[in-house]
Every structure is written in C-alpha cells, then in structure tokens.
Amino acid sequence: MSYIIDRRLNAKKKSTVNRQRFLRRYKKHIKRAVEEAVNTRSIRDIDQGGEVSIPNKDISEPVFHHGNGGVRQRVFPGNKEFVVGDEIKRPEGGGGGGSGQGKASNQGEGEDEFTFQINQEEFLDFMFEDLELPNMIKKQLRDATSFEVRRAGFTSVGSPDKLNVVRSLRAANARRIALSGKERRKIRELKAEIKTLEGLLPNPDALTQINALNEEIKALNKRIKRMPFIDEFDLKYNNLVRTPVPSSKAVMFCVMDVSGSMTQSIKDIAKRFFILLYLFLTRSYKKIEVVFVRHHTHAKEVDEEEFFYSRETGGTIVSSALNLSADIIQERYPPGDWNIYVAQASDGDNWDGDSHICREVLEHRILPLVQYFAYVEITTGPHQNLWLEYEQIREKFGDTFAMQTIVEPADIYPVFRKLFEKKE
C-alpha cells in the first residue's frame, strides 16, 4: 500500500537559512562585487538585484583527492580505431576527472567564477551595510498630527460597538460559578444525605425525610436559576488607545549648480550620488519627497527631467539656491513634521563675494532645521573659496554637516560611504 501526499503547499523556502549562511560567509566577496556593480551600472537599474561572482577557488570545500601523476588505468566507451599498443597524446589539462561522477570535480572544466543572483533587497543591504543616517531622530510630535489606534487590553466601560462578547460571557460564567458556590455545596451535601437514607428505605421515616430533602434541593436549584445570566458588571469592552506615531516622512533636497562650468559628465556623477542617497533614504523612511533646486545666478525649483538634463549658462551664485531651499523648508516642510536632508553638488565654482553669504545662510537658516547636509564637490582642480568657507562650517557643525570631493565616477560610492559611515 502506498501513501500519496501532496506537498506542493508546504513551505517552499526551506533553503533560505542555508542561503543566508552562505551570503553571510562570503559577505566580503559579495560586497566587493556590489561595489563594482554600483560604479558600473547605468543609473536606471542601479537598485536592481543582480549577479554576483566569486572566484571559485575561494569557496571550494577542500577534500583529499589524487593529484596528477602516477599510473592510472581508465576505461572509456566507444572505441573506433584503437588497437592495443597504440600511443596517443595526453590531452591538455589532465584529462578531466576520472570516472566522471561529477559533483566534486576539482579539476578544471568548471567555470572559474561562481556566479549567482541576489535580489534587490539583498543588493541594497550589501550596498548600504554599516551606513547610517546621521541624527535620525524619530520626530515625536508635540503638536501631534498623526496618531495610530492601538489595542490596549480590555475595560469595563465603553461604547456597545466595542463590546467583546467572548470576554463578557467568560466573566459572566465566572461570576455565576462564584456566586452559586454556597448553594451548590449545600445541594451536594443534601444529595449525599439522601443516599445514606436510601439505604434504610423501607423505613417510612426515611421516606418522609428524603422527600423533605428533595424539596429543599428544588428550592436551592431555583435560587441558582434566579441568578442573572449576564450582568452589567460582566461586560467587557475592547480598549483602544490613540498613540502618537513618530513621523516617518522625509524630504530630500537636491541642490545642484547648472552653470556653464558644469558639464554633462559632472551632472551624471551628481545624479548618481543623488540616487544613492535617495535609495538609502527609502530604507529608513516610508515616504520621501524630493525637491530639486538648481541654480546659476538665480535658483529655481524644477522637476527631475529639467534638473538633470537642461543646460544653462552664466555665473554662479550658490547662496540663491540655499536661500530658496530655506524658503521652501519654511513654507512646506515644517521641521517638526519632516526629516530633512540636503545634498548639494557643485564643481566648486562660486562668485567670490557670495561664499561668505552661503556660510551665513547655512548656519542660520538651514543647518538648525535639517537632519544632515552633505556637500560633494565634483572637481579635478584645486578647491576654491566655497570649499574654504564650508570647511569652517564643518568645524562648527561636525555632526550635521559633511563634505567630500569626487574626482571620477569610481569615487562616488566610496565617498558616499564616507559621508554616511557609522560614527561612534
């Protein structure tokens, strides 16, 4: 007799743990592969999962096996023209693995790289590992605007729609058992008495006594029955409380210089940087808004397309963009509600007289309101006065302000890591 069982609905991901163990063990290798991928991928699929390759020799499991050399006699099928005594040339590479039982073929033939897929989430995990968002204060709202209703046990007062039937009936049952205890004990005693009297039965005295006792039991039973089935006192209601929830909203300001000196390749680097930051933020916040601010001598809020692809010429006044950002924050993103991040990318050019204004705007209008301000300068040349002014700010606001230089696309990811690395 055979049993036929349908297992198709059983848990599928039996290997998940083993897979994670594997990823954990080769974290370093995978991280390196991810890093390369981030730098070489096109912007559109930077956050996709992908293939990861690890050198085969790094992950092989060693076993004792025969090396090349010595005398071997191997049997092969399909002889066509050989006769005993023929000599043939030795094939390159040791001639594969003996009887070809496959599996642990240690020699050649296999690919040099062990390649496998990781999904998007794992990819991002590796990408952003050990990074943290600085100053991520959960905004506990004083002027609470968002609440969440949570269950918090049961109460004995409440509106009928919150009545909990199971709890109420359970309480009623308990009450009835508790309050009828005395009567039921009495009944038990009387019944026992009847039993002893029944032993003497033909005796007429006993009979009358039994009848009297039966009457008594009946009376007691009536009293028990009179006990209310459910009482106001039994009613239990679901208790719901409103708790303020920390805001999980964030806004990210992308500020970029679009003056004539910014070439398309510099903008591309900036774009990659902004995308990394955006992906990173999505891991911490449920809802993210992005504000694009571009500037030459004037600043303007634009949409994404225009931000990255339209070209303008002219001089550069950075403070215009900072002022505009500060205005937008004041208008639309009250810092009580929003976690604010600003990322600024520029080639470092600025009108000389403007740089110290930038510093003041930053110090007074922006830095007190934001979580983090990251400035990247994409340049191969020497730093100019904007960088020097910003350096002063960095000294003052070390934990909300950071700046780095990017020279070529390969720097983007390392610089990003530096900006957001975990601080002790």
């Binding site: 007799m1 055979s2 049993y3 036929i4 069982i5 349908d6 297992r7 198709r8 599928k12 991901k13 039996k14 290997s15 743990v17 083993n18 897979r19 994670q20 163990r21 594997f22 063990r25 092989s60 499991e61 060693p62 076993v63 004792f64 096996h65 025969h66 090396g67 090349n68 050399g69 010595g70 005398v71 071997r72 006699q73 191997r74 049997v75 092969f76 099928p77 399909g78 002889n79 066509k80 050989f82 006769v83 005993v84 005594g85 023929d86 000599e87 043939i88 030795r90 001639g95 594969g96 693995g97 003996g98 009887s99 070809g100 039982q101 240690n106 062990f114 390649t115 496998f116 897929q117």
Partner: protein
C-alpha cells in the same frame, strides 16, 4: 492475453490516476517478486525539488552554508536553463519516500513510480550494503535529532563556532566511514540515552590517555610503542574518541557528520547497480503493463523516448561525454544477465557456466542482493557487453610522454578491461588511502597520518587545506606522510607548515 482498457489516455495526471498506476505497478512488481518497503509518494514543485537537491536529497538536514551554496548554484543553473531537474528523488527510508515533480506528465509519473518506488526501493531493501550499513527506519529520526542538536549548539556556542566545526568535519567526511567494521543498528531512543553516557565516558577515557602522571611499570615499556596500535582508517571516529581538546558537544558534531557519511557510503558504492536495477525494472514493469493493454501505445512511445535518453552512453570523443554513464552500464549489464540466462551463447557458457541458462529473475535478485559496483562488474561484465560499449583501457603513466592503449574489446582484452573497469569503482582506489598512523602521546601530542600510495599517485593540492581542518580538530601539530608500497616516505605535509626539505638544505 486479454486486452484491457488502458488506465489513462491523456498526459495530465491526477491523484486518482497516480493511485491507479501505483496499484497496477505494485501488482506487477509483486508478480516478479520485488520486495519493497512501503511507499510514500510525495508530489512537490520544482522549487521544493531545488530545496531537496541542496540538502543532499534529504527531507531535512542541519543548516550549513555549503547547502546554501549548492542551492544557489542549482537555482542559477535551473533558471538559466542549463540543467533540468531530476524527475524524482528517492530516499532510503522506511517508508521509502519518493518525490515526484508536479511538472511531469502522467507517463513520466508512472515511469518514476516504477523506477523509484519499486526499483530503487527494492534495491535499498535487498542489497547487502544497505542492509548492513543503513537503518532505513531510523534515518529520518536521526536527521531530526542531528538538526535539533546542531541548532541547540548554535544557540549555546554561536553560529560561527559550530560552522567552523562542521567545515572541518565536512572536509574529512569521506574519511568518516568504517569500511570493514560492521555496525550494530541503534534506535533513535537508544541514541539519545547513549548520548550522555558517551560524553561522560569519553572525557574519562581521554583523561586516562593523556594522563601525564607516570606509572611505575611504564618505564619498561617498549620504545617503539605506537598509538593507535593498528592504523585507523576512520579519521573522524578517531578524532571523536581521541582528540584531546574537543568539548563534548564538538565530539557529538563529529559523530553526527560521521554517521551521515556512513549512511551515504553504500550509495557511493552501488551507483551503477542501483540505477541499473531501477532502469531494468521500470523498463520491465511498464512493458508488462503495455502487454496487458493497461497503457496506450502513445504512453509507451513517450516512455521509450525518455528511457533511451537516460541510458544513452556517448562515446569518449563526443562533446557530451562525461565519463561512463552509470545508468547505461548498469542497465546494460542487467539486461545482459537476463539474456545470458534466457538465450546463452557458447561464449556465455564458457564465461558464465553458473548462470547461463538459469532462471533470470533469481539470478538478478541474487546479484542485486550480494554485490557492490566493483564486485558486480568483476563478476558479471560479459564480453558481449564490452563489445557493445566498445570499451577500451588507456594506461596513463606520468613518467612517459604518451598514453598507451592497453586493452580493447578483443579476446585478450576482455579480462583486462573488466578488471580495470571494476577497479575504477573501488572507492579505495578512487580516493587516497589515508589512515591514522601514530600519535606522539609522550611528546608533543602530534598526530601523524599516512597516505598509502596507490599506483604512485600523489595527493592533490587540497591536502594542505584539509590538514588545516584536521589541525583545527586535533588541536596539536598534524603531519601527513605519503608512503610508497615499499614503506619509503615520498612526500610530507605539515600543519602548521614547515619549510620543505629542499628549502632547508
């Protein structure tokens, strides 16, 4: 024979149909006298099949990264279409569990049932290696015990410590079997009870061994004293019992790996026979059903199509050649034995006087019960088979510049090809023969292994890596000497490494 109505005509399967086919196949199998464990047929999806693949075909196993690696690569290959998944996996347990994939057609399901549930199953139950080395009724319980035990160790001692331990044991897994000693079967309950006794006993026993307080009568002891007295082939067993620094839980892990290795040992030695047997029976059983009219011609055509592709042996110069196909060799030999019994030629009378003309079923059953690949080929590979596969031997002597053809399918060659082929299935030849030779008990506690060389073949380049694992387990210096049959030491490996002799000189 009275023609009956076929069981089904379409290619879709249903549970009712599977049940009907199973009943019919069981009836025919009984007719041929196949003795099987009860069957448990489980229908699974391809994803579940991949899970099963990566835990070495077991329904449950402890967690280890190497299974994850296996899974990841299977998944990758499958998704890219580089490989198809097996139609079935069958587990040597009682009841015998077989997995059928839901993607299979009805014909394939019937083929798999005949192949796994009656072919492999009867092999598991009948073959002497499986009977002595594995306990089909206990394996699932034992794996469950192992999984829980290792999970508990991970909780207590950390994932990393356990992983390190398992890595080291896996490296030596092939050296965790007793080749000659026969085990006594143990039930899982006994196993549990013995666990505590064992921990205590080993610690006490060890202390005895490593006791440094001299006893009076030891002074007279022979200088050439060696421990162990006889070389020990089961390295993991030796470590479990004698490694000085292991904690009880670590010893238990060594034991678990060793037990599982032992469980797989018969499978590694009977691949040709096992697959040959199963193929022979699915062929015989399904053709029997066809003769009775229970399956359609279309069914038998589809069946033959996959049957022939499974038992195809590409010649050595084909791009598809990947060694000798165990299905082809095994199936061919089983068919050949039947032929020798039913229609013997003069040659067969000369080569196989015992079986030529005897009852084929009895002869096959006898072969299935009492042989492993090596002895099976040595006993039953006929000149007819050698001619059919056109087998030939190449001798590859690394001291010569070319390789020689040393035997082909002719009168002088039959015996030689047969011996060579049989030898290539001898695990003792396939894997280097390494044994525990000595422990320096009085001195630095170093462990010396000896590699007894076979045909002058040296050790592969993984040896140093494996020694590191052994060192991890043993806790003191480990040496490995390659020894020629004359007793001369050809090569040495050390962990921690020592400069090579030439470099010193």
């Amino acid at each position: 024979m009275k023609k009956r109505k076929p069981i089904s005509t379409g290619s879709e399967w249903t549970f009712e149909l599977i049940q009907q086919y199973d009943q019919e196949i069981a009836r025919v199998a009984k007719h041929y006298g196949l003795d099987t464990y009860p069957n448990q047929i489980e229908i699974i999806t391809s994803e579940q099949m991949m899970d099963a693949y990566s835990s070495v075909g077991m329904p449950l196993n402890y967690n280890h990264w190497s299974f994850g690696k296996q899974f990841v690569s299977t998944e990758q290959q499958y998704k890219r279409g580089q490989m198809g998944l097996a139609y079935e996996i069958v587990i040597n347990s009682n009841p015998c569990i077989s997995y059928l994939m839901e993607e299979n057609t009805m014909t394939m399901q019937a083929l798999v049932i005949a192949h796994a549930c009656y072919g492999h199953n009867s092999f598991f139950k009948g073959n002497y290696l499986f009977r002595t080395w594995t306990d089909a009724s206990a394996i699932i319980d034992y794996l469950l015990f192992a999984k829980n035990y290792i999970a508990k160790c991970e909780e207590r001692h950390g994932v990393d410590a356990v992983e390190q331990m398992l890595d080291s044991c896996h490296a030596l897994m092939n050296y965790g079997v007793n080749r000659y000693l026969r085990p006594q079967p143990v039930t899982p309950e006994e196993e549990k009870n013995r666990l505590l006794d064992r921990e205590e006993y080993i610690q006490r026993h060890l202390n005895q061994l490593w006791n440094t307080i001299p006893k009076k009568d030891q002074v007279k002891e022979n200088k050439a004293f060696r421990f162990p007295k006889d070389p020990e082939e089961n390295l993991l067993y030796f470590i479990e019992k004698n490694a000085p620094l292991l904690e009880p839980w670590q010893r238990e892990i060594v034991r678990i790996v060793r037990k599982i290795a032992q469980y797989y040992y018969p499978q590694r030695q009977t691949q040709v026979m096992n697959e040959g047997w199963a193929c022979f029976w699915h062929y015989t059983l399904l053709n029997h059903l066809h003769d009775e009219g229970l399956v359609t011609d279309g069914f038998i055509m589809e069946f033959l199509h996959s049957h022939t592709s499974v038992i195809y042996q590409p010649p050595f110069d084909s791009p598809y050649f990947n060694g000798i196909n165990p299905y082809a060799l095994g199936y061919g030999m089983m068919r050949d034995i039947r032929r020798i019994c039913e229609k013997p030629t003069n040659e067969d009378y000369k080569w196989f006087p015992d079986i030529a003309g005897s009852d084929w079923n009895e002869t096959l059953q006898h072969a299935m019960r009492n042989y492993k690949d090596e002895s099976f080929i040595l006993q039953y590979l006929s000149p007819h088979m050698i001619r059919e596969l056109k087998l030939f031997t190449i001798t590859d002597n690394s001291t010569l510049s070319t390789m020689q053809i040393s035997a082909i399918h002719d009168e002088e060659g039959y015996q030689k090809v047969r011996e060579n082929l049989a030898a290539s299935y001898n695990i003792g030849n396939r894997e280097p023969n390494i044994q525990v030779y000595n422990v320096n008990i009085r001195g630095d506690r170093s462990l010396t292994l000896r590699h007894y060389m076979h045909n002058e073949q040296p050790l592969g380049d993984d040896a140093d890596e494996v020694l590191k694992h052994l060192h991890q387990l043993w806790g003191f210096d480990v040496h490995l000497e390659s020894v020629s049959p004359e007793g001369e030491i050809i090569d040495e490996f050390h962990c921690p490494p020592r400069p090579r002799a030439e470099e010193v000189a």
